[in-house]
Protein backbone atom coordinates (compact mmCIF):
# COMPACT_ATOMS: atom_id res chain seq x y z
CA UNK A 1 0.00 0.00 0.00
CA UNK A 2 1.23 3.46 -0.82
CA UNK A 3 2.02 5.98 1.88
CA UNK A 4 -0.37 8.90 2.36
CA UNK A 5 0.03 11.69 -0.11
CA UNK A 6 1.83 9.72 -2.77
CA UNK A 7 0.14 7.90 -5.56
CA UNK A 8 0.42 4.12 -5.49
CA UNK A 9 2.49 2.73 -8.32
CA UNK A 10 1.15 -0.78 -8.40
CA UNK A 11 -2.09 -2.66 -8.25
CA UNK A 12 -2.75 -5.33 -5.66
CA UNK A 13 -5.11 -7.65 -7.53
CA UNK A 14 -6.98 -10.59 -6.05
CA UNK A 15 -8.96 -12.81 -8.40
CA UNK A 16 -11.57 -14.70 -6.37
CA UNK A 17 -13.89 -17.49 -7.53
CA UNK A 18 -16.08 -20.01 -5.67
CA UNK A 19 -13.29 -22.54 -6.16
CA UNK A 20 -10.88 -20.35 -4.22
CA UNK A 21 -8.49 -17.44 -4.77
CA UNK A 22 -7.18 -18.01 -8.29
CA UNK A 23 -4.54 -15.29 -8.38
CA UNK A 24 -3.08 -12.69 -6.06
CA UNK A 25 -0.66 -10.42 -7.87
CA UNK A 26 1.07 -7.10 -7.67
CA UNK A 27 1.00 -5.63 -11.12
CA UNK A 28 0.98 -2.39 -13.08
CA UNK A 29 -2.27 -2.54 -15.02
CA UNK A 30 -5.49 -4.46 -15.44
CA UNK A 31 -7.88 -4.78 -18.37
CA UNK A 32 -11.35 -6.06 -17.57
CA UNK A 33 -14.57 -6.81 -19.49
CA UNK A 34 -16.96 -4.33 -17.88
CA UNK A 35 -20.70 -4.46 -18.24
CA UNK A 36 -20.47 -1.24 -20.26
CA UNK A 37 -17.43 -2.31 -22.27
CA UNK A 38 -13.79 -3.18 -21.77
CA UNK A 39 -11.77 -0.85 -19.57
CA UNK A 40 -8.23 -0.54 -18.29
CA UNK A 41 -7.37 0.17 -14.70
CA UNK A 42 -4.17 1.83 -13.53
CA UNK A 43 -2.78 2.41 -10.03
CA UNK A 44 -4.38 5.19 -8.01
CA UNK A 45 -7.95 4.68 -9.15
CA UNK A 46 -10.78 6.09 -7.05
CA UNK A 47 -12.85 3.53 -5.09
CA UNK A 48 -15.16 1.86 -7.55
CA UNK A 49 -17.58 -1.01 -7.83
CA UNK A 50 -18.42 -2.23 -11.29
CA UNK A 51 -20.11 -5.24 -12.85
CA UNK A 52 -18.23 -7.58 -15.17
CA UNK A 53 -19.61 -9.67 -17.97
CA UNK A 54 -18.07 -12.85 -19.45
CA UNK A 55 -14.89 -12.00 -21.35
CA UNK A 56 -11.14 -11.75 -21.04
CA UNK A 57 -9.39 -10.28 -18.02
CA UNK A 58 -5.79 -9.25 -18.55
CA UNK A 59 -3.61 -8.79 -15.48
CA UNK A 60 -0.52 -6.70 -16.12
CA UNK A 61 0.65 -4.54 -18.98
CA UNK A 62 4.09 -5.92 -19.70
CA UNK A 63 3.88 -9.30 -17.98
CA UNK A 64 0.48 -10.35 -19.11
CA UNK A 65 -1.72 -13.08 -17.76
CA UNK A 66 -4.93 -13.63 -19.65
CA UNK A 67 -7.91 -15.13 -17.86
CA UNK A 68 -11.28 -16.12 -19.22
CA UNK A 69 -13.79 -14.82 -16.67
CA UNK A 70 -17.55 -15.01 -16.40
CA UNK A 71 -19.96 -12.64 -14.66
CA UNK A 72 -18.94 -10.93 -11.44
CA UNK A 73 -17.74 -7.61 -10.13
CA UNK A 74 -14.56 -5.60 -9.75
CA UNK A 75 -14.07 -3.50 -6.66
CA UNK A 76 -11.35 -0.96 -6.01
CA UNK A 77 -10.92 -0.49 -2.27
CA UNK A 78 -10.05 2.84 -0.67
CA UNK A 79 -6.69 1.17 0.14
CA UNK A 80 -6.33 0.62 -3.62
CA UNK A 81 -6.55 -3.15 -3.30
CA UNK A 82 -8.51 -4.61 -6.18
CA UNK A 83 -10.86 -7.48 -5.78
CA UNK A 84 -12.04 -9.17 -8.95
CA UNK A 85 -14.80 -11.54 -7.95
CA UNK A 86 -16.08 -13.75 -10.75
CA UNK A 87 -18.12 -16.88 -10.83
CA UNK A 88 -15.63 -18.71 -13.07
CA UNK A 89 -12.05 -17.97 -14.10
CA UNK A 90 -9.49 -19.95 -16.01
CA UNK A 91 -6.00 -19.02 -17.19
CA UNK A 92 -5.87 -18.65 -21.00
CA UNK A 93 -3.07 -21.20 -21.25
CA UNK A 94 -5.13 -23.78 -19.35
CA UNK A 95 -8.13 -23.53 -21.64
CA UNK A 96 -9.00 -26.66 -23.54
CA UNK A 97 -9.87 -24.96 -26.80
CA UNK A 98 -11.43 -28.04 -28.32
CA UNK A 99 -13.87 -28.50 -25.44
CA UNK A 100 -14.67 -24.79 -25.54
CA UNK A 101 -15.37 -24.96 -29.29
CA UNK A 102 -17.55 -28.04 -28.79
CA UNK A 103 -19.46 -26.25 -25.98
CA UNK A 104 -19.94 -23.22 -28.21
CA UNK A 105 -21.26 -25.36 -31.05
CA UNK A 106 -23.57 -27.35 -28.78
CA UNK A 107 -24.90 -24.12 -27.28
CA UNK A 108 -25.56 -22.54 -30.65
CA UNK A 109 -27.31 -25.69 -31.86
CA UNK A 110 -29.54 -25.67 -28.77
CA UNK A 111 -30.29 -22.00 -29.28
CA UNK A 112 -31.35 -22.67 -32.86
CA UNK A 113 -33.57 -25.51 -31.72
CA UNK A 114 -35.22 -23.15 -29.22
CA UNK A 115 -36.70 -21.16 -32.10
CA UNK A 116 -39.63 -18.89 -31.24
CA UNK A 117 -40.54 -20.35 -27.88
CA UNK A 118 -40.76 -17.81 -25.04
CA UNK A 119 -37.43 -17.39 -23.30
CA UNK A 120 -37.11 -18.66 -19.74
CA UNK A 121 -34.42 -19.74 -17.27
CA UNK A 122 -33.29 -22.65 -19.42
CA UNK A 123 -32.83 -20.29 -22.37
CA UNK A 124 -30.70 -17.97 -20.24
CA UNK A 125 -28.58 -20.95 -19.25
CA UNK A 126 -27.87 -21.68 -22.91
CA UNK A 127 -26.92 -18.04 -23.49
CA UNK A 128 -24.57 -18.20 -20.53
CA UNK A 129 -22.92 -21.39 -21.80
CA UNK A 130 -22.29 -19.75 -25.18
CA UNK A 131 -20.84 -16.60 -23.60
CA UNK A 132 -18.55 -18.63 -21.33
CA UNK A 133 -17.35 -20.82 -24.23
CA UNK A 134 -16.62 -17.69 -26.28
CA UNK A 135 -14.73 -16.10 -23.38
CA UNK A 136 -12.54 -19.21 -23.04
CA UNK A 137 -11.77 -19.26 -26.77
CA UNK A 138 -10.92 -15.55 -26.68
CA UNK A 139 -8.65 -15.97 -23.68
CA UNK A 140 -6.77 -18.88 -25.25
CA UNK A 141 -5.94 -16.99 -28.44
CA UNK A 142 -3.59 -14.02 -28.11
Amino acid sequence: MAAHGTLPTELDVRLVTPKGVVAHEHTDALTAPGELGEFELLPGHVPMLTALKPGVLVIGDKDRARYAVSAGYLRVDPSNAIEVLVEQAVLGGDVNVETARADLKAGQAELEKWGERPTDGDWKNIIHRIAWAQARIDAAGN
Partner: protein
Protein backbone atom coordinates in the same frame (compact mmCIF):
# COMPACT_ATOMS: atom_id res chain seq x y z
CA UNK B 1 -28.45 -76.50 13.80
CA UNK B 2 -26.83 -75.63 10.45
CA UNK B 3 -24.08 -77.90 9.24
CA UNK B 4 -20.40 -77.06 9.73
CA UNK B 5 -20.00 -76.35 6.03
CA UNK B 6 -22.97 -73.97 5.96
CA UNK B 7 -21.56 -71.96 8.85
CA UNK B 8 -18.14 -71.82 7.23
CA UNK B 9 -19.63 -70.46 3.98
CA UNK B 10 -21.64 -67.91 5.96
CA UNK B 11 -18.51 -66.68 7.77
CA UNK B 12 -16.74 -66.32 4.43
CA UNK B 13 -19.53 -64.21 2.94
CA UNK B 14 -19.79 -61.95 5.99
CA UNK B 15 -16.02 -61.44 5.84
CA UNK B 16 -16.35 -60.35 2.21
CA UNK B 17 -19.13 -57.94 3.12
CA UNK B 18 -16.94 -56.50 5.84
CA UNK B 19 -14.14 -55.93 3.33
CA UNK B 20 -16.54 -54.00 1.09
CA UNK B 21 -18.02 -51.85 3.85
CA UNK B 22 -14.55 -51.11 5.18
CA UNK B 23 -13.38 -50.02 1.71
CA UNK B 24 -16.48 -47.86 1.27
CA UNK B 25 -15.79 -46.23 4.60
CA UNK B 26 -12.23 -45.37 3.59
CA UNK B 27 -13.33 -44.03 0.20
CA UNK B 28 -16.03 -41.89 1.84
CA UNK B 29 -13.50 -40.53 4.31
CA UNK B 30 -11.17 -39.45 1.49
CA UNK B 31 -14.02 -37.90 -0.50
CA UNK B 32 -15.33 -36.18 2.61
CA UNK B 33 -11.99 -34.47 3.07
CA UNK B 34 -12.10 -33.16 -0.50
CA UNK B 35 -15.67 -31.97 -0.07
CA UNK B 36 -14.72 -30.11 3.08
CA UNK B 37 -11.85 -28.44 1.25
CA UNK B 38 -14.30 -27.23 -1.39
CA UNK B 39 -16.50 -25.69 1.31
CA UNK B 40 -13.50 -23.85 2.76
CA UNK B 41 -12.37 -22.72 -0.72
CA UNK B 42 -15.76 -21.16 -1.42
CA UNK B 43 -15.67 -19.04 1.73
CA UNK B 44 -13.70 -15.94 0.55
CA UNK B 45 -15.94 -15.65 -2.51
CA UNK B 46 -19.13 -16.12 -0.52
CA UNK B 47 -18.08 -13.67 2.19
CA UNK B 48 -17.05 -10.93 -0.24
CA UNK B 49 -20.13 -11.32 -2.38
CA UNK B 50 -22.45 -11.37 0.62
CA UNK B 51 -20.88 -8.23 1.97
CA UNK B 52 -21.05 -6.35 -1.32
CA UNK B 53 -24.67 -7.35 -1.96
CA UNK B 54 -25.67 -6.37 1.60
CA UNK B 55 -23.91 -3.02 1.28
CA UNK B 56 -25.51 -2.37 -2.08
CA UNK B 57 -28.92 -3.35 -0.78
CA UNK B 58 -28.40 -0.95 2.09
CA UNK B 59 -27.37 2.04 -0.01
CA UNK B 60 -29.89 1.35 -2.78
CA UNK B 61 -32.73 0.12 -0.57
CA UNK B 62 -34.32 -3.32 -0.71
CA UNK B 63 -37.11 -2.10 -2.97
CA UNK B 64 -34.42 -1.51 -5.60
CA UNK B 65 -34.45 -5.06 -6.86
CA UNK B 66 -37.40 -7.37 -7.59
CA UNK B 67 -35.60 -10.37 -6.07
CA UNK B 68 -35.87 -8.71 -2.65
CA UNK B 69 -39.61 -8.25 -2.94
CA UNK B 70 -41.84 -10.39 -0.74
CA UNK B 71 -45.07 -10.86 -2.64
CA UNK B 72 -46.61 -13.41 -0.32
CA UNK B 73 -48.12 -10.75 1.91
CA UNK B 74 -50.18 -9.31 -0.92
CA UNK B 75 -51.26 -12.45 -2.73
CA UNK B 76 -54.37 -14.20 -1.49
CA UNK B 77 -54.11 -17.58 0.14
CA UNK B 78 -54.82 -20.08 -2.61
CA UNK B 79 -52.92 -18.37 -5.40
CA UNK B 80 -49.64 -18.35 -3.52
CA UNK B 81 -47.08 -20.63 -5.11
CA UNK B 82 -43.86 -21.99 -3.68
CA UNK B 83 -41.03 -24.08 -5.02
CA UNK B 84 -38.60 -26.27 -3.10
CA UNK B 85 -35.13 -27.14 -4.28
CA UNK B 86 -34.45 -30.62 -2.88
CA UNK B 87 -30.87 -31.78 -2.45
CA UNK B 88 -30.62 -35.56 -2.23
CA UNK B 89 -28.08 -38.11 -3.47
CA UNK B 90 -27.92 -40.52 -6.37
CA UNK B 91 -26.92 -43.44 -4.19
CA UNK B 92 -28.06 -44.94 -0.93
CA UNK B 93 -26.04 -46.77 1.74
CA UNK B 94 -25.67 -43.49 3.57
CA UNK B 95 -27.84 -44.02 6.62
CA UNK B 96 -30.81 -41.69 6.87
CA UNK B 97 -29.29 -39.15 4.46
CA UNK B 98 -31.89 -39.43 1.70
CA UNK B 99 -34.89 -40.42 3.75
CA UNK B 100 -34.46 -37.51 6.16
CA UNK B 101 -34.43 -35.04 3.24
CA UNK B 102 -37.58 -36.60 1.81
CA UNK B 103 -39.28 -36.61 5.21
CA UNK B 104 -38.38 -32.97 5.76
CA UNK B 105 -39.88 -31.96 2.40
CA UNK B 106 -43.08 -33.84 3.17
CA UNK B 107 -43.28 -32.39 6.67
CA UNK B 108 -42.66 -28.85 5.36
CA UNK B 109 -45.43 -29.20 2.79
CA UNK B 110 -47.79 -30.14 5.62
CA UNK B 111 -46.74 -27.49 8.11
CA UNK B 112 -44.50 -24.51 7.23
CA UNK B 113 -45.66 -24.28 3.63
CA UNK B 114 -49.27 -25.25 4.23
CA UNK B 115 -50.31 -21.70 3.31
CA UNK B 116 -49.28 -22.13 -0.31
CA UNK B 117 -51.85 -23.15 -2.89
CA UNK B 118 -49.32 -24.86 -5.10
CA UNK B 119 -45.90 -26.31 -4.39
CA UNK B 120 -43.53 -27.48 -7.09
CA UNK B 121 -40.27 -29.35 -6.60
CA UNK B 122 -36.94 -28.88 -8.25
CA UNK B 123 -35.20 -32.11 -7.43
CA UNK B 124 -31.51 -32.86 -7.32
CA UNK B 125 -30.49 -36.49 -6.87
CA UNK B 126 -31.94 -39.78 -8.03
CA UNK B 127 -33.20 -40.89 -4.64
CA UNK B 128 -35.63 -38.04 -4.03
CA UNK B 129 -36.68 -38.12 -7.68
CA UNK B 130 -37.63 -41.78 -7.47
CA UNK B 131 -39.62 -41.20 -4.30
CA UNK B 132 -41.57 -38.17 -5.53
CA UNK B 133 -42.12 -39.50 -9.04
CA UNK B 134 -43.82 -42.57 -7.58
CA UNK B 135 -46.10 -40.27 -5.60
CA UNK B 136 -46.89 -38.05 -8.60
CA UNK B 137 -45.59 -34.90 -6.95
CA UNK B 138 -45.38 -31.69 -8.95
CA UNK B 139 -41.80 -31.94 -10.20
CA UNK B 140 -40.58 -28.91 -12.17
CA UNK B 141 -37.13 -30.26 -12.94
CA UNK B 142 -34.76 -33.07 -12.07
CA UNK B 143 -30.98 -33.11 -12.13
CA UNK B 144 -28.53 -35.82 -11.13
CA UNK B 145 -26.76 -35.23 -7.84
CA UNK B 146 -23.64 -33.11 -8.35
CA UNK B 147 -20.07 -34.07 -7.61
CA UNK B 148 -17.58 -31.42 -6.56
CA UNK B 149 -16.69 -30.52 -10.15
CA UNK B 150 -20.27 -30.10 -11.40
CA UNK B 151 -21.79 -28.44 -8.33
CA UNK B 152 -21.07 -24.90 -9.52
CA UNK B 153 -22.73 -25.34 -12.88
CA UNK B 154 -25.72 -27.06 -11.30
CA UNK B 155 -26.03 -24.20 -8.81
CA UNK B 156 -25.84 -21.63 -11.61
CA UNK B 157 -28.44 -23.29 -13.79
CA UNK B 158 -30.80 -23.96 -10.90
CA UNK B 159 -30.39 -20.34 -9.77
CA UNK B 160 -31.19 -19.02 -13.25
CA UNK B 161 -34.30 -21.20 -13.40
CA UNK B 162 -35.73 -20.27 -10.01
CA UNK B 163 -34.94 -16.59 -10.56
CA UNK B 164 -36.75 -16.67 -13.87
CA UNK B 165 -39.72 -18.46 -12.29
CA UNK B 166 -39.77 -15.88 -9.51
CA UNK B 167 -39.52 -12.83 -11.76
CA UNK B 168 -42.17 -14.12 -14.16
CA UNK B 169 -44.53 -14.79 -11.25
CA UNK B 170 -44.59 -18.59 -11.57
CA UNK B 171 -43.55 -18.86 -7.94
CA UNK B 172 -43.77 -16.41 -5.05
CA UNK B 173 -41.27 -18.04 -2.78
CA UNK B 174 -38.45 -20.53 -3.18
CA UNK B 175 -37.06 -22.74 -0.45
CA UNK B 176 -34.36 -25.34 -0.34
CA UNK B 177 -34.05 -28.48 1.74
CA UNK B 178 -30.61 -29.93 2.23
CA UNK B 179 -28.40 -31.75 4.69
CA UNK B 180 -26.45 -29.12 6.57
CA UNK B 181 -22.91 -30.23 7.30
CA UNK B 182 -22.04 -29.75 10.95
CA UNK B 183 -19.26 -32.31 11.31
CA UNK B 184 -18.24 -35.65 9.88
CA UNK B 185 -20.56 -37.44 12.28
CA UNK B 186 -23.35 -34.89 12.53
CA UNK B 187 -25.61 -33.65 9.76
CA UNK B 188 -28.99 -32.06 10.02
CA UNK B 189 -31.68 -31.39 7.46
CA UNK B 190 -32.66 -27.75 7.12
CA UNK B 191 -35.29 -25.80 5.26
CA UNK B 192 -34.11 -22.38 4.09
CA UNK B 193 -35.67 -19.59 2.12
CA UNK B 194 -33.80 -18.74 -1.08
CA UNK B 195 -36.13 -16.26 -2.78
CA UNK B 196 -37.00 -13.52 -2.13
CA UNK B 197 -33.48 -12.76 -1.00
CA UNK B 198 -33.18 -11.50 2.55
CA UNK B 199 -30.00 -9.42 2.60
CA UNK B 200 -27.86 -10.19 5.60
CA UNK B 201 -27.47 -7.35 8.04
CA UNK B 202 -24.19 -5.61 7.41
CA UNK B 203 -21.73 -5.99 10.26
CA UNK B 204 -21.01 -2.74 12.05
CA UNK B 205 -17.42 -2.41 10.83
CA UNK B 206 -18.57 -3.09 7.29
CA UNK B 207 -21.27 -0.47 7.70
CA UNK B 208 -18.59 2.02 8.63
CA UNK B 209 -16.71 0.95 5.51
CA UNK B 210 -19.74 1.58 3.33
CA UNK B 211 -19.44 5.26 4.20
CA UNK B 212 -16.83 5.45 1.43
CA UNK B 213 -18.07 6.97 -1.76
CA UNK B 214 -17.74 4.26 -4.32
CA UNK B 215 -18.13 5.05 -7.97
CA UNK B 216 -20.85 2.69 -9.11
CA UNK B 217 -20.69 1.56 -12.69
CA UNK B 218 -23.31 1.12 -14.04
CA UNK B 219 -25.79 2.44 -11.44
CA UNK B 220 -26.58 0.61 -8.18
CA UNK B 221 -29.76 -0.96 -9.55
CA UNK B 222 -28.00 -2.50 -12.54
CA UNK B 223 -25.22 -3.70 -10.28
CA UNK B 224 -27.73 -5.37 -8.02
CA UNK B 225 -29.41 -6.93 -11.03
CA UNK B 226 -26.02 -8.43 -11.92
CA UNK B 227 -24.94 -9.48 -8.46
CA UNK B 228 -28.09 -10.75 -6.76
CA UNK B 229 -28.31 -13.73 -9.17
CA UNK B 230 -24.69 -14.54 -8.32
CA UNK B 231 -25.62 -14.36 -4.66
CA UNK B 232 -28.49 -16.80 -5.19
CA UNK B 233 -26.08 -19.07 -7.04
CA UNK B 234 -23.55 -19.09 -4.22
CA UNK B 235 -26.31 -19.86 -1.71
CA UNK B 236 -27.26 -22.91 -3.77
CA UNK B 237 -23.62 -23.81 -4.38
CA UNK B 238 -22.87 -23.86 -0.67
CA UNK B 239 -25.94 -25.98 -0.04
CA UNK B 240 -24.81 -28.39 -2.77
CA UNK B 241 -21.32 -28.63 -1.27
CA UNK B 242 -22.69 -29.17 2.22
CA UNK B 243 -25.03 -31.80 0.87
CA UNK B 244 -22.11 -33.59 -0.79
CA UNK B 245 -20.01 -33.45 2.37
CA UNK B 246 -22.97 -34.62 4.47
CA UNK B 247 -23.57 -37.53 2.14
CA UNK B 248 -20.00 -38.76 2.55
CA UNK B 249 -20.11 -38.13 6.29
CA UNK B 250 -23.34 -40.10 6.60
CA UNK B 251 -21.99 -42.89 4.43
CA UNK B 252 -18.81 -43.03 6.46
CA UNK B 253 -20.77 -43.43 9.69
CA UNK B 254 -23.13 -45.96 8.14
CA UNK B 255 -20.27 -48.02 6.75
CA UNK B 256 -18.36 -47.89 10.00
CA UNK B 257 -21.39 -49.30 11.79
CA UNK B 258 -21.81 -51.92 9.10
CA UNK B 259 -18.17 -52.94 9.47
CA UNK B 260 -18.57 -53.21 13.23
CA UNK B 261 -21.75 -55.25 12.89
CA UNK B 262 -20.07 -57.57 10.42
CA UNK B 263 -17.25 -58.08 12.92
CA UNK B 264 -19.75 -58.93 15.66
CA UNK B 265 -21.53 -61.32 13.37
CA UNK B 266 -18.29 -63.06 12.42
CA UNK B 267 -17.49 -63.51 16.10
CA UNK B 268 -20.91 -65.00 16.78
CA UNK B 269 -20.72 -67.31 13.81
CA UNK B 270 -17.21 -68.45 14.75
CA UNK B 271 -18.46 -69.31 18.21
CA UNK B 272 -21.33 -71.26 16.72
CA UNK B 273 -18.94 -72.99 14.34
CA UNK B 274 -16.59 -74.07 17.12
CA UNK B 275 -19.46 -75.32 19.23
CA UNK B 276 -20.77 -77.37 16.32
CA UNK B 277 -17.28 -78.73 15.66
CA UNK B 278 -16.80 -79.70 19.30
CA UNK B 279 -20.24 -81.29 19.38
CA UNK B 280 -19.38 -83.44 16.40
CA UNK B 281 -16.03 -84.47 17.96
CA UNK B 282 -17.77 -85.35 21.23
CA UNK B 283 -20.30 -87.35 19.29
CA UNK B 284 -17.56 -89.24 17.42
CA UNK B 285 -15.71 -89.95 20.68
CA UNK B 286 -18.90 -91.22 22.28
CA UNK B 287 -19.43 -93.48 19.33
CA UNK B 288 -15.88 -94.84 19.49
CA UNK B 289 -16.13 -95.41 23.25
CA UNK B 290 -19.55 -96.97 22.78
CA UNK B 291 -18.16 -99.25 20.05
CA UNK B 292 -15.19 -100.32 22.20
CA UNK B 293 -17.49 -101.07 25.15
CA UNK B 294 -19.65 -103.20 22.90
CA UNK B 295 -16.60 -105.21 21.70
CA UNK B 296 -15.47 -105.84 25.31
CA UNK B 297 -18.81 -107.30 26.22
Amino acid sequence: MPSLKAIRTRIGSVKNTRKITRAMKLVSAAKLRRAQEAIVAARPYANSLTQVVSELAQVAGTESHPLFEDRTAKADHASKKAAIVVFSADRGLAGAFNSSVIKKVEAAVESELAGFGEISLRIIGKKANGHFTRRNANIASYDAAPIGATALQLARETATRIIDDFLSGKVDRVYMVYNEFRSAISQGVTLKQVLPVVPEAVASDAAAGSGIDYVYEPDKQTLLANLVPLYVQIVLYRAALESIASEFGARMTAMENATKNAGDMIQRLTLQYNRARQASITKELAEIVGGAEALKG
